[in-house]
Symmetry: C2
Subunit: 381 residues, 2 copies
């Protein structure tokens, strides 16, 4: 790696942005090193055919590494899509709603709302019913996951139930195990796991379909990873354009058309790093420690910071918090920037502050943020 | 650039692959150089938010450069999509076919066939009629563009006519100007320009919508560039999932959801190179010279090589040719490889040989290929 221009630790920016977010340096360095000549081919990975042997090995290695780190059962397959999780919001109802069908949507944030919106728009085109929604919204806010009472809306026959694990904007996290236990048994379970995918060991076997936009813990934007029960995929509608059909993607091993070659390549690099670091148990341990540092710091300041989300639903990935007023917001962000901490402003739709603590955020960054939080409160409080 | 591991000219591989294909070295070198630290931000471009100022400048520069090099009229806008041209095969009929509508498809190769297939599948869901097809297919082959007689099928009221400029697999090219002159006036003209987009100056003003998968002359796979007449985009169906609507993409300036950040970034680099090289007139001059070198070499060998496509329709981008038998195919590819020429085998669906001469293929590679063609024929003929 001697010839590679390295980013020195002294000048690194601590990226707390919620996505696209920080990526493991090892994955980036490996890509930079061989950027013009991948595997001695004399060509950039960007110039390789998706039908050639170099890309084929990368594609299969990435699929195998997903299978390994997630410890997938034989019933489930790894698929790649484009278009972001937002496109899955549309293609899930397109694939699975037939005339007269109805789906259930559990919602605890904006991404779940968007999934409902696309399904509601699609339903009439499929001759299906509008979705049933179980939402934890209170006023304009989401501070917890849906309650058992709210999920009681899921009575009767449902084609599938769609859920979200981690709501990136509101910082509300619902663990996959809790979702699987909370929704009606026997209904295919679909889940958008974009922003906590690969952050902890997760049993995906109860899920018919999970998907994740790569640009949080997985890799660059432009790639969606889906883990699908093959039998469920094969139940999709066959009267759809081929490009959207899960069964076609399954059969073609995600090479229906040209895949986002570089995004898969870099994701492969991230998975190599994740595997070498100890896999999902190691990620979970580190992510738990990072989140504890930051939430503890926020709560140690005598109420200077508000932490709106209910304790049990606080996200380990996206820590949402508030300062006493907008003037202090500005000062906080400006001081953070002088400490090379960026990406801390909340989503424009909710305001306030937000710190993403994805897999690639080192413990040292969480320590630095915790220290800054306490120091700032002392001086400004 | 001193710290950057450079690919020496002596070891470079001559990539004649038809896509993903060769990219300009200047665009790749610039990306490698700042791969860990784009614009002094201390972060990789892969780690930047699509809502942040660094990416926003890149996004807008790419859009502006497309507008500049294509000399776009004010009526037309630049949009970015994911999913490849194959997804546009589906989203075009989704957006524009209403109940009772019928579209026309002119076909002179496999990509046009695929567009017909998706539109035919979609039409019943929209309550629309099956498309009218004008095809130049003879037996299993395409050796020319559709004739005036074949295009006579486009009578009556059509919602749009869909065409293709360059058929990558069969090596049959139909210039945009000829398309615009050949199809019925007054019908919105849609065109898949994936494999000759940006290869020559082209007046896009007669086209309601053109689109191109980036992985030929534009940039990495995972990005589609569409040039749309804004009034036409606004005519799309409003009862579709938002993610597919051209009017929504137009309004949101291609930031409906997270775009493929790195693909747009690298495309920006390619456009900077293209502009600095003299824009589309310079590309056209070079591409014409490269294609002449290779076709002349093929024809100078006394019939050793077959060049099936009609002279007037021969593609400047993808030169399709054949050798006398399969044994010579193998020997040709093996000898080419020892000269560091790769990507020369024809598409698996048609066999034979194919050489892509995209913008990033230097004249010197075409000269080397021409020399090899003549030499090989002398020795093997």
């Amino acid at each position: 790696m001697a010839s590679s221009p390295a980013r020195s630790d002294d000048t690194v920016t601590m990226n707390f942005g919620s996505g696209p977010g920080a990526l493991p340096r090892a994955a980036l360095l490996a890509a930079q090193e061989e950027f013009l000549d991948v595997e001695g081919s004399g060509m950039s990975i960007l110039e390789h055919s998706h039908r050639g042997s170099v890309y084929d090995r990368i594609h299969e290695e990435a699929r195998a590494l997903f299978r390994k780190v997630l410890d997938l059962p034989a019933s489930h397959e790894v698929l790649f899509f484009q278009g972001g999780a937002s496109e899955q919001f549309a293609t899930v109802p397109m694939n699975f709603l037939r005339p007269g069908d109805r789906a259930g949507y559990a919602v605890h944030g904006v991404w779940g709302e968007k999934a409902v919106q696309e399904a509601t728009t699609w339903a009439p085109l499929a001759g299906a019913e509008a979705p049933v929604v179980a939402s934890s919204q209170e006023g304009t806010r989401y501070l917890r996951v849906p309650s058992a009472a709210e999920l009681g809306a899921f009575s009767g026959s449902l084609r599938y139930v769609h859920t979200t694990t981690n709501e990136t904007i509101h910082g509300v996290q619902w663990h996959a195990e809790a979702i699987a236990a909370a929704v009606p048994a026997g209904v295919p379970l679909v889940c958008d796991m974009s922003s906590d995918f690969l952050s902890r060991p997760t049993d995906l076997s109860p899920f018919a379909l999970t998907y994740a936009g790569a640009q949080k813990n997985v890799g660059p934007s432009g790639l969606v990873v889906a883990i699908v029960n093959a039998d469920f995929a094969k139940e999709c509608r066959k009267d759809l354009p081929r490009i959207f059909r899960y069964d076609v993607n399954l059969k073609e091993k995600s090479l229906v058309n040209t895949p986002p070659v570089f995004s898969v390549y870099l994701t492969r690099n991230v998975l190599r790093w994740l595997d070498a670091e100890g896999g999902l148990p190691a990620m979970a341990e580190r992510n738990t420690a990072k989140a504890k540092l930051v939430y503890d710091a926020l709560e140690s300041c005598g109420g200077f910071y508000t932490v709106p989300v209910e304790r049990a639903a606080r996200s380990q990935m996206n820590v949402v918090f508030g300062l006493p007023n907008a003037q202090l917001d500005m000062r906080f962000l400006a001081e953070a920037k002088t400490r090379r901490m960026v990406g801390l402003s909340g989503h424009r739709s909710v305001g306030g502050m937000r710190a993403a603590l994805y897999n690639a955020v080192p413990l040292a960054w969480a320590e630095a943020l915790a220290e800054f939080l306490v120091d700032f409160a002392k001086r400004a409080g």
